[in-house]
Symmetry: C2
Subunit: 315 residues, 2 copies
Amino acid sequence: MTAHLPTLSDIINAHSRIRPFIHRTPVLTSGSINEILGAEFFFKCENFQKVGAFKFRGATNSVLSLTPEELARGVGTHSSGNHAAALALAARNAGVPAYIVMPRTAPEIKKIAVGGYGGIITFCEPTLEARETTMAKVQQETGCTFIHSFNQFEIIAGQGTAALELLEDCPDLDTIMAPVGGGGLLSGTAIAAKSIKPDITVWAGEPANADDAFRSVQSGSIQPAVPPNTIADGLLTSLGPLTFEVIRHRVDRILLCPEPTITEAMRLIWERMKIIIEPSSAVPLGALMANPDDGWKGKKIGIILSGGNCQLKLM
Amino acid sequence: MTAHLPTLSDIINAHSRIRPFIHRTPVLTSGSINEILGAEFFFKCENFQKVGAFKFRGATNSVLSLTPEELARGVGTHSSGNHAAALALAARNAGVPAYIVMPRTAPEIKKIAVGGYGGIITFCEPTLEARETTMAKVQQETGCTFIHSFNQFEIIAGQGTAALELLEDCPDLDTIMAPVGGGGLLSGTAIAAKSIKPDITVWAGEPANADDAFRSVQSGSIQPAVPPNTIADGLLTSLGPLTFEVIRHRVDRILLCPEPTITEAMRLIWERMKIIIEPSSAVPLGALMANPDDGWKGKKIGIILSGGNCQLKLM
Protein backbone atom coordinates (compact mmCIF):
# COMPACT_ATOMS: atom_id res chain seq x y z
CA MET A 1 0.00 0.00 0.00
CA THR A 2 1.33 3.43 -0.90
CA ALA A 3 0.60 6.17 1.57
CA HIS A 4 -0.94 9.38 0.27
CA LEU A 5 1.90 11.84 0.64
CA PRO A 6 2.19 15.52 -0.19
CA THR A 7 4.14 16.55 -3.28
CA LEU A 8 5.97 19.77 -4.03
CA SER A 9 2.80 21.24 -5.50
CA ASP A 10 0.92 20.51 -2.25
CA ILE A 11 3.65 22.37 -0.39
CA ILE A 12 3.44 25.29 -2.82
CA ASN A 13 -0.35 25.35 -2.38
CA ALA A 14 0.08 25.24 1.39
CA HIS A 15 2.44 28.19 1.14
CA SER A 16 -0.09 30.31 -0.79
CA ARG A 17 -2.73 29.37 1.77
CA ILE A 18 -0.74 30.19 4.91
CA ARG A 19 1.38 33.09 3.64
CA PRO A 20 -0.95 35.84 4.95
CA PHE A 21 -0.77 34.37 8.45
CA ILE A 22 2.87 33.35 8.92
CA HIS A 23 6.11 35.28 9.21
CA ARG A 24 8.52 34.87 6.34
CA THR A 25 11.37 34.16 8.72
CA PRO A 26 14.87 35.43 7.95
CA VAL A 27 17.86 33.30 7.01
CA LEU A 28 20.78 34.33 9.22
CA THR A 29 24.45 33.57 8.86
CA SER A 30 27.35 33.84 11.31
CA GLY A 31 30.88 34.47 10.15
CA SER A 32 32.27 33.23 13.42
CA ILE A 33 30.34 29.93 13.41
CA ASN A 34 31.42 29.36 9.81
CA GLU A 35 35.02 29.98 10.83
CA ILE A 36 34.85 27.80 13.95
CA LEU A 37 33.22 24.83 12.19
CA GLY A 38 34.65 25.16 8.69
CA ALA A 39 31.49 25.21 6.60
CA GLU A 40 29.01 27.82 5.37
CA PHE A 41 25.79 27.74 7.34
CA PHE A 42 22.41 29.28 6.52
CA PHE A 43 20.05 29.24 9.48
CA LYS A 44 16.32 29.44 8.73
CA CYS A 45 15.00 31.13 11.85
CA GLU A 46 11.70 29.46 12.72
CA ASN A 47 12.39 30.54 16.30
CA PHE A 48 11.10 33.90 15.00
CA GLN A 49 7.94 32.25 13.59
CA LYS A 50 4.59 33.03 15.25
CA VAL A 51 4.17 31.08 18.50
CA GLY A 52 7.95 30.69 18.34
CA ALA A 53 8.10 27.52 16.22
CA PHE A 54 7.67 26.06 12.72
CA LYS A 55 4.60 24.21 14.04
CA PHE A 56 2.48 27.24 13.21
CA ARG A 57 2.97 26.52 9.49
CA GLY A 58 1.46 23.04 9.58
CA ALA A 59 -1.27 23.94 12.05
CA THR A 60 -2.38 26.89 9.92
CA ASN A 61 -2.36 24.78 6.77
CA SER A 62 -4.45 22.11 8.47
CA VAL A 63 -7.05 24.58 9.72
CA LEU A 64 -7.30 26.34 6.35
CA SER A 65 -7.66 23.01 4.51
CA LEU A 66 -10.88 22.05 6.33
CA THR A 67 -14.29 22.28 4.66
CA PRO A 68 -16.49 25.14 5.91
CA GLU A 69 -18.61 22.64 7.84
CA GLU A 70 -15.61 21.06 9.53
CA LEU A 71 -14.07 24.44 10.20
CA ALA A 72 -17.19 25.70 11.96
CA ARG A 73 -16.98 22.86 14.49
CA GLY A 74 -13.40 23.72 15.35
CA VAL A 75 -10.23 21.68 15.76
CA GLY A 76 -8.65 19.69 18.54
CA THR A 77 -5.46 18.00 19.56
CA HIS A 78 -3.74 16.47 22.54
CA SER A 79 -0.34 18.00 23.02
CA SER A 80 1.51 19.90 25.64
CA GLY A 81 3.99 21.46 23.29
CA ASN A 82 4.34 23.91 20.45
CA HIS A 83 1.70 22.16 18.32
CA ALA A 84 -1.01 22.96 20.86
CA ALA A 85 -0.12 26.65 20.93
CA ALA A 86 0.21 26.71 17.15
CA LEU A 87 -3.19 25.10 16.64
CA ALA A 88 -4.82 27.44 19.15
CA LEU A 89 -3.55 30.51 17.30
CA ALA A 90 -4.33 29.08 13.84
CA ALA A 91 -7.91 28.41 14.98
CA ARG A 92 -8.25 31.85 16.54
CA ASN A 93 -7.08 33.43 13.28
CA ALA A 94 -9.84 31.48 11.51
CA GLY A 95 -12.38 32.47 14.15
CA VAL A 96 -13.09 28.92 15.31
CA PRO A 97 -12.49 27.09 18.59
CA ALA A 98 -9.42 24.93 19.32
CA TYR A 99 -9.93 22.19 21.92
CA ILE A 100 -6.66 21.23 23.53
CA VAL A 101 -6.27 18.21 25.78
CA MET A 102 -3.28 18.65 28.08
CA PRO A 103 -1.95 16.61 30.97
CA ARG A 104 -2.58 18.28 34.35
CA THR A 105 1.15 18.08 34.91
CA ALA A 106 2.11 20.19 31.87
CA PRO A 107 4.38 23.13 32.72
CA GLU A 108 2.51 26.26 33.75
CA ILE A 109 4.14 28.22 30.93
CA LYS A 110 2.64 25.87 28.32
CA LYS A 111 -0.83 26.19 29.84
CA ILE A 112 -0.53 29.97 29.80
CA ALA A 113 0.65 29.97 26.18
CA VAL A 114 -2.20 27.79 24.94
CA GLY A 115 -4.75 29.73 26.98
CA GLY A 116 -3.27 33.01 25.79
CA TYR A 117 -3.95 32.05 22.18
CA GLY A 118 -7.56 31.29 23.08
CA GLY A 119 -7.28 27.48 23.24
CA ILE A 120 -10.03 25.74 25.23
CA ILE A 121 -8.11 23.42 27.52
CA THR A 122 -9.34 20.13 28.95
CA PHE A 123 -6.95 18.67 31.48
CA CYS A 124 -6.38 14.93 31.78
CA GLU A 125 -4.18 12.51 33.65
CA PRO A 126 -0.62 12.37 32.38
CA THR A 127 -0.89 9.10 30.44
CA LEU A 128 -1.26 8.49 26.71
CA GLU A 129 -4.43 6.52 27.36
CA ALA A 130 -6.01 9.40 29.30
CA ARG A 131 -5.03 11.83 26.55
CA GLU A 132 -6.65 9.69 23.87
CA THR A 133 -9.87 8.92 25.73
CA THR A 134 -10.26 12.53 26.83
CA MET A 135 -9.65 13.70 23.26
CA ALA A 136 -12.24 11.22 21.95
CA LYS A 137 -14.76 12.52 24.46
CA VAL A 138 -14.10 16.14 23.47
CA GLN A 139 -14.48 15.23 19.79
CA GLN A 140 -17.77 13.48 20.49
CA GLU A 141 -19.11 16.47 22.38
CA THR A 142 -17.94 19.18 19.96
CA GLY A 143 -17.60 17.52 16.57
CA CYS A 144 -14.16 19.09 16.21
CA THR A 145 -11.60 17.72 13.75
CA PHE A 146 -8.57 16.09 15.33
CA ILE A 147 -5.30 17.51 14.01
CA HIS A 148 -2.33 15.25 14.66
CA SER A 149 0.90 17.05 15.44
CA PHE A 150 2.95 15.44 12.65
CA ASN A 151 1.49 12.35 10.98
CA GLN A 152 -0.95 14.14 8.71
CA PHE A 153 -0.89 15.19 5.05
CA GLU A 154 -1.63 18.92 5.62
CA ILE A 155 0.77 19.16 8.54
CA ILE A 156 3.65 17.73 6.49
CA ALA A 157 2.78 20.01 3.55
CA GLY A 158 2.69 23.03 5.85
CA GLN A 159 6.01 22.22 7.53
CA GLY A 160 7.59 21.82 4.08
CA THR A 161 7.07 25.54 3.41
CA ALA A 162 10.05 26.40 5.63
CA ALA A 163 12.41 24.52 3.28
CA LEU A 164 10.62 26.10 0.29
CA GLU A 165 11.46 29.56 1.59
CA LEU A 166 14.99 28.57 2.57
CA LEU A 167 15.71 27.26 -0.93
CA GLU A 168 14.19 30.37 -2.48
CA ASP A 169 16.60 32.48 -0.43
CA CYS A 170 19.60 30.12 -0.78
CA PRO A 171 19.18 28.09 -3.96
CA ASP A 172 22.70 26.65 -4.00
CA LEU A 173 22.74 24.68 -0.76
CA ASP A 174 24.62 21.38 -0.83
CA THR A 175 22.77 20.00 2.17
CA ILE A 176 19.61 20.85 4.09
CA MET A 177 19.08 19.69 7.67
CA ALA A 178 16.25 19.54 10.16
CA PRO A 179 15.85 17.92 13.56
CA VAL A 180 13.69 14.78 13.76
CA GLY A 181 11.14 13.95 16.44
CA GLY A 182 7.81 12.81 14.99
CA GLY A 183 9.20 13.68 11.59
CA GLY A 184 6.69 16.24 10.29
CA LEU A 185 9.27 18.96 9.70
CA LEU A 186 11.86 16.54 8.33
CA SER A 187 9.32 14.94 5.94
CA GLY A 188 8.13 18.28 4.58
CA THR A 189 11.73 19.42 4.25
CA ALA A 190 12.77 16.26 2.37
CA ILE A 191 9.83 16.41 -0.06
CA ALA A 192 10.37 20.10 -0.81
CA ALA A 193 14.15 19.94 -1.09
CA LYS A 194 14.47 16.77 -3.18
CA SER A 195 11.75 18.00 -5.56
CA ILE A 196 13.26 21.47 -6.00
CA LYS A 197 16.87 20.34 -6.14
CA PRO A 198 17.25 16.59 -6.77
CA ASP A 199 20.99 16.59 -6.07
CA ILE A 200 20.69 18.17 -2.61
CA THR A 201 21.40 15.92 0.34
CA VAL A 202 18.83 15.90 3.15
CA TRP A 203 20.21 15.13 6.56
CA ALA A 204 18.54 14.92 9.94
CA GLY A 205 19.91 15.52 13.40
CA GLU A 206 18.56 13.33 16.20
CA PRO A 207 19.52 13.17 19.89
CA ALA A 208 21.60 10.03 20.52
CA ASN A 209 19.44 9.56 23.63
CA ALA A 210 16.24 9.51 21.54
CA ASP A 211 17.50 7.74 18.43
CA ASP A 212 14.27 6.01 17.45
CA ALA A 213 14.14 7.51 13.93
CA PHE A 214 17.70 6.32 13.29
CA ARG A 215 16.80 2.84 14.52
CA SER A 216 13.55 2.84 12.56
CA VAL A 217 15.32 3.51 9.27
CA GLN A 218 18.02 0.94 10.11
CA SER A 219 15.53 -1.78 11.01
CA GLY A 220 12.91 -0.98 8.37
CA SER A 221 10.06 -0.57 10.85
CA ILE A 222 8.95 2.16 13.24
CA GLN A 223 10.76 1.82 16.55
CA PRO A 224 9.36 3.23 19.77
CA ALA A 225 11.07 6.21 21.36
CA VAL A 226 11.20 4.84 24.89
CA PRO A 227 12.83 5.74 27.13
CA PRO A 228 14.02 9.04 25.65
CA ASN A 229 16.16 11.11 27.94
CA THR A 230 17.23 14.31 26.27
CA ILE A 231 17.25 18.05 26.80
CA ALA A 232 15.73 18.30 23.30
CA ASP A 233 12.19 17.94 24.59
CA GLY A 234 10.63 18.59 21.19
CA LEU A 235 12.14 15.39 19.81
CA LEU A 236 10.80 12.72 22.14
CA THR A 237 8.14 11.33 19.82
CA SER A 238 8.57 8.33 17.53
CA LEU A 239 7.78 8.46 13.80
CA GLY A 240 4.32 7.85 12.37
CA PRO A 241 3.47 5.77 9.28
CA LEU A 242 3.46 8.78 6.93
CA THR A 243 6.62 10.39 8.20
CA PHE A 244 8.44 7.04 8.32
CA GLU A 245 7.51 6.45 4.68
CA VAL A 246 8.97 9.80 3.62
CA ILE A 247 12.06 9.64 5.79
CA ARG A 248 13.14 6.12 4.84
CA HIS A 249 13.09 7.03 1.13
CA ARG A 250 14.11 10.65 0.98
CA VAL A 251 16.41 11.40 3.88
CA ASP A 252 20.02 10.60 3.09
CA ARG A 253 21.34 10.36 6.63
CA ILE A 254 20.28 10.67 10.24
CA LEU A 255 23.21 11.89 12.33
CA LEU A 256 23.12 11.34 16.08
CA CYS A 257 24.06 13.98 18.61
CA PRO A 258 25.14 13.24 22.21
CA GLU A 259 23.61 15.38 24.96
CA PRO A 260 26.70 17.48 25.75
CA THR A 261 27.03 18.41 22.08
CA ILE A 262 23.39 19.55 21.94
CA THR A 263 24.16 21.98 24.75
CA GLU A 264 27.44 23.01 23.12
CA ALA A 265 25.72 23.73 19.79
CA MET A 266 22.91 25.64 21.51
CA ARG A 267 25.40 27.74 23.40
CA LEU A 268 27.35 28.44 20.21
CA ILE A 269 24.22 29.74 18.47
CA TRP A 270 23.08 31.74 21.51
CA GLU A 271 26.48 33.32 22.09
CA ARG A 272 27.57 33.94 18.52
CA MET A 273 24.24 34.80 16.90
CA LYS A 274 22.51 36.39 19.94
CA ILE A 275 19.31 34.54 19.14
CA ILE A 276 17.33 32.24 21.37
CA ILE A 277 16.71 28.73 20.13
CA GLU A 278 15.25 25.78 21.98
CA PRO A 279 17.44 22.70 22.50
CA SER A 280 15.72 20.75 19.70
CA SER A 281 16.85 23.42 17.24
CA ALA A 282 20.49 22.88 18.15
CA VAL A 283 20.45 19.16 17.36
CA PRO A 284 21.31 19.37 13.62
CA LEU A 285 24.33 21.61 14.20
CA GLY A 286 25.31 19.50 17.20
CA ALA A 287 25.01 16.33 15.10
CA LEU A 288 27.48 17.80 12.61
CA MET A 289 29.84 18.84 15.39
CA ALA A 290 29.67 15.29 16.77
CA ASN A 291 30.43 13.84 13.33
CA PRO A 292 33.22 16.05 11.99
CA ASP A 293 34.47 13.54 9.42
CA ASP A 294 31.22 13.03 7.58
CA GLY A 295 32.07 15.10 4.55
CA TRP A 296 30.26 18.33 5.39
CA LYS A 297 33.29 20.58 5.90
CA GLY A 298 33.51 23.33 3.30
CA LYS A 299 29.92 22.77 2.16
CA LYS A 300 26.91 25.11 2.07
CA ILE A 301 24.49 23.78 4.66
CA GLY A 302 20.99 25.04 5.35
CA ILE A 303 19.68 24.31 8.85
CA ILE A 304 16.12 24.84 9.97
CA LEU A 305 16.12 26.22 13.51
CA SER A 306 12.83 24.73 14.58
CA GLY A 307 11.83 26.99 17.46
CA GLY A 308 12.74 29.29 20.30
CA ASN A 309 10.47 28.31 23.17
CA CYS A 310 12.45 27.46 26.25
CA GLN A 311 12.46 28.29 29.91
CA LEU A 312 15.02 30.99 30.41
CA LYS A 313 17.08 31.68 33.44
CA LEU A 314 18.70 35.06 33.54
CA MET A 315 22.46 35.15 34.06
CA MET B 1 34.38 77.30 27.94
CA THR B 2 32.56 75.38 25.23
CA ALA B 3 33.60 71.78 24.78
CA HIS B 4 34.48 70.60 21.28
CA LEU B 5 31.58 68.33 20.43
CA PRO B 6 30.76 66.30 17.33
CA THR B 7 28.04 67.56 14.99
CA LEU B 8 25.80 65.64 12.61
CA SER B 9 28.39 65.97 9.89
CA ASP B 10 31.03 64.38 12.13
CA ILE B 11 28.65 61.50 12.67
CA ILE B 12 28.02 61.17 8.94
CA ASN B 13 31.78 61.21 8.33
CA ALA B 14 32.26 58.59 11.01
CA HIS B 15 29.64 56.45 9.30
CA SER B 16 31.45 56.58 5.93
CA ARG B 17 34.68 55.71 7.71
CA ILE B 18 33.42 52.71 9.68
CA ARG B 19 30.80 51.34 7.26
CA PRO B 20 33.11 48.74 5.65
CA PHE B 21 33.87 47.29 9.08
CA ILE B 22 30.57 47.28 10.96
CA HIS B 23 27.31 45.39 10.52
CA ARG B 24 24.34 47.47 9.44
CA THR B 25 22.20 45.99 12.20
CA PRO B 26 18.52 45.28 11.60
CA VAL B 27 15.60 47.15 13.16
CA LEU B 28 13.20 44.57 14.57
CA THR B 29 9.62 44.98 15.72
CA SER B 30 7.37 42.78 17.84
CA GLY B 31 3.61 42.79 17.42
CA SER B 32 3.14 41.22 20.80
CA ILE B 33 5.32 43.73 22.68
CA ASN B 34 3.49 46.58 20.92
CA GLU B 35 0.19 45.04 22.00
CA ILE B 36 1.28 44.39 25.59
CA LEU B 37 2.71 47.88 26.13
CA GLY B 38 0.49 49.98 23.87
CA ALA B 39 3.08 51.75 21.72
CA GLU B 40 4.94 51.02 18.50
CA PHE B 41 8.54 50.00 19.13
CA PHE B 42 11.46 49.85 16.72
CA PHE B 43 14.45 48.04 18.17
CA LYS B 44 17.85 48.80 16.69
CA CYS B 45 19.71 45.54 17.28
CA GLU B 46 23.26 46.42 18.28
CA ASN B 47 23.33 43.07 20.06
CA PHE B 48 23.96 41.77 16.53
CA GLN B 49 26.84 44.24 16.03
CA LYS B 50 30.38 42.87 15.79
CA VAL B 51 31.76 41.99 19.25
CA GLY B 52 28.08 41.99 20.29
CA ALA B 53 27.75 45.69 21.17
CA PHE B 54 27.48 49.22 19.74
CA LYS B 55 30.93 49.90 21.24
CA PHE B 56 32.51 48.59 18.05
CA ARG B 57 31.24 51.66 16.18
CA GLY B 58 33.03 54.20 18.35
CA ALA B 59 36.16 52.10 18.74
CA THR B 60 36.47 51.66 14.98
CA ASN B 61 35.93 55.36 14.37
CA SER B 62 38.59 56.24 16.93
CA VAL B 63 41.16 53.90 15.42
CA LEU B 64 40.46 55.07 11.87
CA SER B 65 40.70 58.73 12.92
CA LEU B 66 44.32 58.47 14.07
CA THR B 67 47.19 59.85 12.03
CA PRO B 68 49.34 57.19 10.33
CA GLU B 69 52.08 57.82 12.91
CA GLU B 70 49.71 57.41 15.85
CA LEU B 71 48.07 54.40 14.25
CA ALA B 72 51.39 52.61 13.81
CA ARG B 73 52.04 52.82 17.56
CA GLY B 74 48.70 51.21 18.35
CA VAL B 75 45.92 52.02 20.78
CA GLY B 76 45.23 51.28 24.41
CA THR B 77 42.54 51.42 27.02
CA HIS B 78 41.72 50.21 30.48
CA SER B 79 38.39 48.45 30.51
CA SER B 80 37.04 45.07 31.34
CA GLY B 81 33.93 45.37 29.23
CA ASN B 82 32.71 45.62 25.67
CA HIS B 83 34.91 48.61 24.89
CA ALA B 84 38.07 46.54 25.41
CA ALA B 85 36.88 43.81 23.05
CA ALA B 86 35.68 46.42 20.54
CA LEU B 87 39.00 48.27 20.57
CA ALA B 88 40.94 45.02 20.21
CA LEU B 89 38.99 44.04 17.09
CA ALA B 90 39.07 47.55 15.62
CA ALA B 91 42.87 47.60 16.04
CA ARG B 92 43.24 44.11 14.57
CA ASN B 93 41.21 45.19 11.53
CA ALA B 94 43.64 48.09 11.11
CA GLY B 95 46.63 45.81 11.58
CA VAL B 96 47.92 47.56 14.70
CA PRO B 97 48.27 46.47 18.33
CA ALA B 98 45.67 47.15 21.05
CA TYR B 99 47.04 47.29 24.61
CA ILE B 100 44.33 46.48 27.11
CA VAL B 101 44.76 46.97 30.84
CA MET B 102 42.36 44.74 32.76
CA PRO B 103 41.94 43.98 36.45
CA ARG B 104 43.19 40.49 37.37
CA THR B 105 39.73 39.86 38.76
CA ALA B 106 37.90 40.41 35.45
CA PRO B 107 35.61 37.53 34.46
CA GLU B 108 37.39 34.79 32.51
CA ILE B 109 34.96 35.22 29.60
CA LYS B 110 36.03 38.86 29.17
CA LYS B 111 39.70 37.94 29.18
CA ILE B 112 39.05 35.29 26.54
CA ALA B 113 37.05 37.72 24.39
CA VAL B 114 39.72 40.42 24.44
CA GLY B 115 42.48 37.89 23.86
CA GLY B 116 40.46 36.26 21.07
CA TYR B 117 40.38 39.57 19.19
CA GLY B 118 44.14 39.84 19.50
CA GLY B 119 44.27 42.36 22.36
CA ILE B 120 47.56 42.47 24.28
CA ILE B 121 46.47 42.28 27.90
CA THR B 122 48.29 43.71 30.90
CA PHE B 123 46.71 42.71 34.17
CA CYS B 124 46.58 45.05 37.14
CA GLU B 125 45.12 45.20 40.63
CA PRO B 126 41.36 45.85 40.67
CA THR B 127 41.47 49.53 41.64
CA LEU B 128 41.01 52.61 39.51
CA GLU B 129 44.42 53.87 40.59
CA ALA B 130 46.13 50.65 39.50
CA ARG B 131 44.33 50.79 36.17
CA GLU B 132 45.45 54.33 35.51
CA THR B 133 49.07 53.90 36.58
CA THR B 134 49.37 50.63 34.66
CA MET B 135 47.86 52.27 31.59
CA ALA B 136 50.27 55.21 31.88
CA LYS B 137 53.18 52.80 32.07
CA VAL B 138 51.99 50.88 28.99
CA GLN B 139 51.56 54.15 27.09
CA GLN B 140 55.05 55.23 28.03
CA GLU B 141 56.53 51.94 26.86
CA THR B 142 54.59 51.63 23.61
CA GLY B 143 53.62 55.15 22.60
CA CYS B 144 50.08 53.93 22.02
CA THR B 145 47.14 56.35 21.94
CA PHE B 146 44.74 56.07 24.83
CA ILE B 147 41.11 55.64 23.69
CA HIS B 148 38.61 56.47 26.40
CA SER B 149 35.49 54.33 26.40
CA PHE B 150 33.02 57.20 26.15
CA ASN B 151 34.32 60.71 26.88
CA GLN B 152 36.00 61.30 23.54
CA PHE B 153 34.99 63.14 20.36
CA GLU B 154 35.48 60.21 17.95
CA ILE B 155 33.82 57.74 20.27
CA ILE B 156 30.71 59.88 20.56
CA ALA B 157 30.64 60.46 16.79
CA GLY B 158 30.98 56.73 16.16
CA GLN B 159 28.24 55.75 18.62
CA GLY B 160 25.94 58.30 16.95
CA THR B 161 25.95 56.23 13.76
CA ALA B 162 23.50 53.75 15.29
CA ALA B 163 20.85 56.48 15.59
CA LEU B 164 21.73 57.67 12.09
CA GLU B 165 20.90 54.25 10.69
CA LEU B 166 17.80 53.89 12.85
CA LEU B 167 16.41 57.20 11.62
CA GLU B 168 17.23 56.27 8.02
CA ASP B 169 15.16 53.11 8.45
CA CYS B 170 12.40 54.69 10.58
CA PRO B 171 12.25 58.41 9.79
CA ASP B 172 8.97 59.08 11.59
CA LEU B 173 9.87 58.18 15.16
CA ASP B 174 8.34 60.35 17.89
CA THR B 175 10.97 59.39 20.44
CA ILE B 176 14.39 57.76 20.40
CA MET B 177 15.85 56.09 23.49
CA ALA B 178 19.18 54.74 24.61
CA PRO B 179 20.51 53.52 27.94
CA VAL B 180 22.94 55.79 29.79
CA GLY B 181 26.11 54.73 31.59
CA GLY B 182 29.09 56.91 30.69
CA GLY B 183 26.87 58.56 28.10
CA GLY B 184 28.76 57.92 24.86
CA LEU B 185 25.88 56.18 23.12
CA LEU B 186 23.29 58.58 24.51
CA SER B 187 25.32 61.64 23.46
CA GLY B 188 25.86 60.38 19.92
CA THR B 189 22.18 59.45 19.71
CA ALA B 190 21.04 62.89 20.92
CA ILE B 191 23.31 64.79 18.53
CA ALA B 192 22.27 62.67 15.53
CA ALA B 193 18.56 62.60 16.33
CA LYS B 194 18.05 66.27 17.24
CA SER B 195 20.01 67.37 14.17
CA ILE B 196 18.14 65.12 11.75
CA LYS B 197 14.69 65.63 13.28
CA PRO B 198 14.53 68.65 15.62
CA ASP B 199 11.05 67.77 16.93
CA ILE B 200 12.03 64.26 18.06
CA THR B 201 12.25 63.67 21.79
CA VAL B 202 15.39 61.99 23.09
CA TRP B 203 14.91 59.96 26.24
CA ALA B 204 17.34 57.90 28.27
CA GLY B 205 16.76 54.89 30.47
CA GLU B 206 18.93 54.59 33.57
CA PRO B 207 18.89 52.02 36.39
CA ALA B 208 17.30 53.56 39.51
CA ASN B 209 20.16 51.92 41.44
CA ALA B 210 22.77 53.76 39.34
CA ASP B 211 21.00 57.07 38.79
CA ASP B 212 24.05 59.31 38.62
CA ALA B 213 23.22 60.73 35.17
CA PHE B 214 19.73 61.66 36.40
CA ARG B 215 21.20 63.32 39.48
CA SER B 216 23.90 65.04 37.43
CA VAL B 217 21.35 66.70 35.16
CA GLN B 218 19.17 67.63 38.16
CA SER B 219 22.03 69.15 40.10
CA GLY B 220 23.88 70.72 37.17
CA SER B 221 27.19 69.00 37.91
CA ILE B 222 28.56 65.52 37.32
CA GLN B 223 27.62 63.24 40.19
CA PRO B 224 29.60 60.11 41.03
CA ALA B 225 28.03 56.72 40.37
CA VAL B 226 28.88 55.19 43.74
CA PRO B 227 27.69 52.82 44.98
CA PRO B 228 25.94 51.42 41.91
CA ASN B 229 24.20 48.13 42.47
CA THR B 230 22.48 46.96 39.33
CA ILE B 231 22.24 43.95 37.06
CA ALA B 232 22.85 46.40 34.17
CA ASP B 233 26.61 46.11 34.47
CA GLY B 234 27.27 48.20 31.38
CA LEU B 235 25.79 51.28 33.06
CA LEU B 236 27.88 51.63 36.21
CA THR B 237 30.03 54.52 35.03
CA SER B 238 29.35 58.19 35.72
CA LEU B 239 29.26 60.80 32.96
CA GLY B 240 32.33 62.60 31.65
CA PRO B 241 32.62 66.32 30.86
CA LEU B 242 31.80 65.88 27.16
CA THR B 243 28.89 63.53 27.58
CA PHE B 244 27.48 65.60 30.45
CA GLU B 245 27.58 68.68 28.22
CA VAL B 246 25.59 66.94 25.47
CA ILE B 247 23.15 65.20 27.74
CA ARG B 248 22.18 68.21 29.86
CA HIS B 249 21.30 70.20 26.73
CA ARG B 250 19.93 67.68 24.28
CA VAL B 251 18.31 64.87 26.22
CA ASP B 252 14.69 65.62 27.08
CA ARG B 253 14.28 63.15 29.93
CA ILE B 254 16.11 60.50 31.87
CA LEU B 255 13.65 57.87 33.08
CA LEU B 256 14.68 55.62 35.95
CA CYS B 257 14.11 51.88 36.00
CA PRO B 258 13.97 49.77 39.19
CA GLU B 259 15.90 46.49 39.17
CA PRO B 260 12.89 44.13 38.93
CA THR B 261 11.63 46.02 35.89
CA ILE B 262 15.01 45.70 34.14
CA THR B 263 14.69 41.94 34.48
CA GLU B 264 11.05 42.02 33.41
CA ALA B 265 11.86 44.05 30.28
CA MET B 266 14.81 41.79 29.44
CA ARG B 267 12.63 38.72 29.81
CA LEU B 268 9.94 40.29 27.62
CA ILE B 269 12.43 40.90 24.81
CA TRP B 270 14.06 37.47 25.18
CA GLU B 271 10.75 35.62 25.23
CA ARG B 272 8.82 37.58 22.64
CA MET B 273 11.58 38.45 20.20
CA LYS B 274 13.81 35.38 20.72
CA ILE B 275 16.90 37.56 20.73
CA ILE B 276 19.55 37.79 23.40
CA ILE B 277 20.21 41.20 24.89
CA GLU B 278 22.31 42.11 27.88
CA PRO B 279 20.61 43.70 30.92
CA SER B 280 21.80 47.22 30.03
CA SER B 281 19.89 46.96 26.76
CA ALA B 282 16.64 46.33 28.58
CA VAL B 283 16.84 49.50 30.66
CA PRO B 284 15.11 51.91 28.21
CA LEU B 285 12.12 49.62 27.70
CA GLY B 286 12.04 48.90 31.43
CA ALA B 287 12.16 52.61 32.20
CA LEU B 288 9.05 53.10 30.06
CA MET B 289 7.31 50.16 31.74
CA ALA B 290 8.13 51.70 35.13
CA ASN B 291 6.72 55.07 34.04
CA PRO B 292 3.51 54.18 32.21
CA ASP B 293 1.91 57.62 32.55
CA ASP B 294 4.69 59.60 30.92
CA GLY B 295 2.95 60.21 27.62
CA TRP B 296 4.61 57.53 25.49
CA LYS B 297 1.60 55.28 24.93
CA GLY B 298 0.52 55.17 21.31
CA LYS B 299 3.79 56.73 20.12
CA LYS B 300 6.46 55.45 17.72
CA ILE B 301 9.53 54.81 19.84
CA GLY B 302 12.96 53.80 18.60
CA ILE B 303 15.10 51.97 21.15
CA ILE B 304 18.77 51.17 20.71
CA LEU B 305 19.46 47.70 22.10
CA SER B 306 23.02 48.32 23.12
CA GLY B 307 24.46 44.80 23.23
CA GLY B 308 24.03 41.09 23.71
CA ASN B 309 26.99 40.00 25.79
CA CYS B 310 25.88 38.22 28.92
CA GLN B 311 26.64 35.05 30.77
CA LEU B 312 24.01 32.53 29.81
CA LYS B 313 22.66 29.70 31.85
CA LEU B 314 20.78 27.10 29.91
CA MET B 315 17.27 26.28 31.13
